[in-house]
């Protein structure tokens, strides 16, 4: 695979729930070494898109490719093993376990064959990177909210993903915590050469950190482009503020 190929690509991805078209004809791609923002008002279909590309929902129509390979209909486990790892909006961590064991689960997923040492090394390295080393033996559920978010991201980072999909990782964090996580995102992109798909409501952060943004509205792609382009887009502004527009 060359650098120009998309890591992940969707082709007319569609998901229907009863009468509701949650995601409709979505074409989207994630390229190597980029942070892609996926934004849109409440109910725009972001969560469904996330569930579709991570295999938790099966698409009603359309196709999903990872690294050029058709993976439509694969299970979440299979998709994860191809390098796409996601987090969940409401805490993707094991609250009853220590931070060390939380990260270990990620390491086990990444290194199914290795025993002992390589996994411990992966845990230590991930902890260092997320500045969690001091908390390795704490029960994750006892940690303050910001650190719990870091643990969630840490589990995914420990798997060494090629595409890291984060569902609202910044909710409820204070400004300095947000800044720290944004630095981490950049280092994942620049040092690991991985890509990030970011669903986030903190628009300021999205505008700061993303290379490219896709805007969803009523399950469809409303706009895509650089943060600057999106910030100027009339259709996007009206979608957010609820004004009428006739973009389609």
């Amino acid at each position: 695979m060359t650098d120009t190929t998309a890591l992940l690509r969707t082709e007319a991805l569609t998901r229907r729930f009863g009468g509701l078209l949650a995601v409709s004809n979505l074409d989207m791609d994630i390229r190597p070494n980029e942070i892609l923002g996926l934004i849109g008002p409440n109910g725009a279909g972001k969560s469904t898109t996330f569930n579709l590309i991570s295999g938790f929902h099966k698409p009603t129509a359309g196709r999903l490719f990872i690294g050029g390979r058709d993976v439509t209909g694969r299970s979440p486990e299979q998709i994860s093993r191809l390098g796409l790892v996601r987090t969940f909006q409401h805490g993707s961590l094991m609250r009853g376990m220590t931070v060390r064991d939380n990260l270990l689960v990620g390491a086990v997923g990444a290194l199914p064959q290795a025993r002992g040492e390589p996994r411990r090394a992966r845990v230590a390295e991930t902890a260092k990177r997320l500045r969690l080393t001091a908390y390795l033996d704490e029960r994750a559920g006892n940690l303050p909210h910001g650190l719990q978010r870091l643990v969630s991201i840490g589990i995914a980072v420990a798997t060494g993903p090629r595409v890291l999909c984060l569902d609202e990782p910044l909710t409820g964090l204070n400004q300095s915590e947000v800044a720290g996580i944004l630095d981490l995102f950049r280092s994942i992109r620049d040092e690991d050469g991985s890509s990030i798909l970011l669903v986030e409501h903190n628009m300021k952060a999205v505008m700061q950190v993303c290379d490219r943004i896709v805007v969803l509205h009523h399950g469809q792609k409303l706009a895509s482009g650089t943060p600057a382009e999106i910030g100027r887009d009339e259709a996007v502004i009206s979608a957010y503020l609820g004004k009428r527009h006739d973009s389609h």
Partner: protein, 240 residues
């Protein structure tokens, strides 16, 4: 302003989910005869305010009072009896039951059967589309019709205060207009309305005044016309 002019008063309300703070000392008030709105982005804590007021979520601190009487910590069914009704986010209708049954359940605790009949007729006047389908299970209705049933069900308890949580979400523009019109009518009929909306334009066009919620705290409060012009709204939604 004397307390008697307030139908609903929330003082310094805090709610945590586990260790996660969802609301941090929120204070707001609903004035008699007016429509208020809380607007803010996803995850700001709008629904949590609604749930805490209705008794579905136990607050960590602060108080809620209705017509000057504290109701903090009462179970949800007792709050309804005291004159407050919520149209919950996602409607939460009883899907396998008919429109008629859903509406009847709204009046479960009422003793004034005669008035219940009148209210039933009034709800059907508000939403004529429901009239011909009273025996249809609500699960098979369209989103807009379901929202009508949800609003109608809440009105059947003859509330003096009506809370609406994201009533226009996922609805087609024409239906959004219908719902907005009905909410204004309800407000004029003597019910005090508190509206939570993600769609700021619709919210501010319905409400007399509004609050902006960011990250669990109220950051601004003003008349709707002023809010509609303000930079704060833009910032709350777009972060620009």
């Amino acid at each position: 302003m004397t307390p008697t002019e307030l139908s609903l008063e929330i003082t310094d309300l805090s709610v945590n989910f586990g260790v996660v703070p969802a609301l941090r000392g929120v204070s707001l008030a609903l004035r008699k005869g007016r429509i208020a709105t809380i607007i803010g982005a996803n995850g700001a804590g709008k629904s949590t305010i609604m749930k805490a007021v209705c008794g579905l979520v136990k607050p960590r601190g602060g108080s809620v009072s209705l017509f000057g009487k504290p109701v903090t910590g009462l179970p949800a069914d007792e709050i309804v009896v005291r004159g407050l009704s919520l149209v919950p986010e996602g409607r939460r209708l009883f899907g396998s039951m008919t429109i008629r049954e859903n509406l009847e359940l709204g009046a479960y605790r009422r003793k004034d059967r005669l008035r219940v009949g009148e209210d039933f007729a009034r709800v059907l006047d508000y939403f004529p589309a429901l009239r011909d389908r009273l025996s249809t299970p609500v699960g098979s209705l369209s989103g807009g019709q379901q929202q009508m049933v949800a609003v109608g069900r809440a009105l059947m308890s003859a509330p003096r205060i009506l809370l609406l949580d994201e009533p226009t979400i996922g609805l087609a523009p024409a239906v959004v207009d219908d719902i907005a019109g009905i909410v204004r009518t309800i407000g004029r009929s003597g019910v005090d309305v508190l509206l939570v909306e993600q769609n700021a334009e619709v919210a501010l066009s319905i409400a007399d005044y509004g609050y902006i919620l960011e990250n669990g705290s109220i950051v601004a409060e003003d008349e709707s016309t002023a809010l509609a012009r303000s930079e704060t709204v833009q910032r709350a939604y777009l972060g620009i």
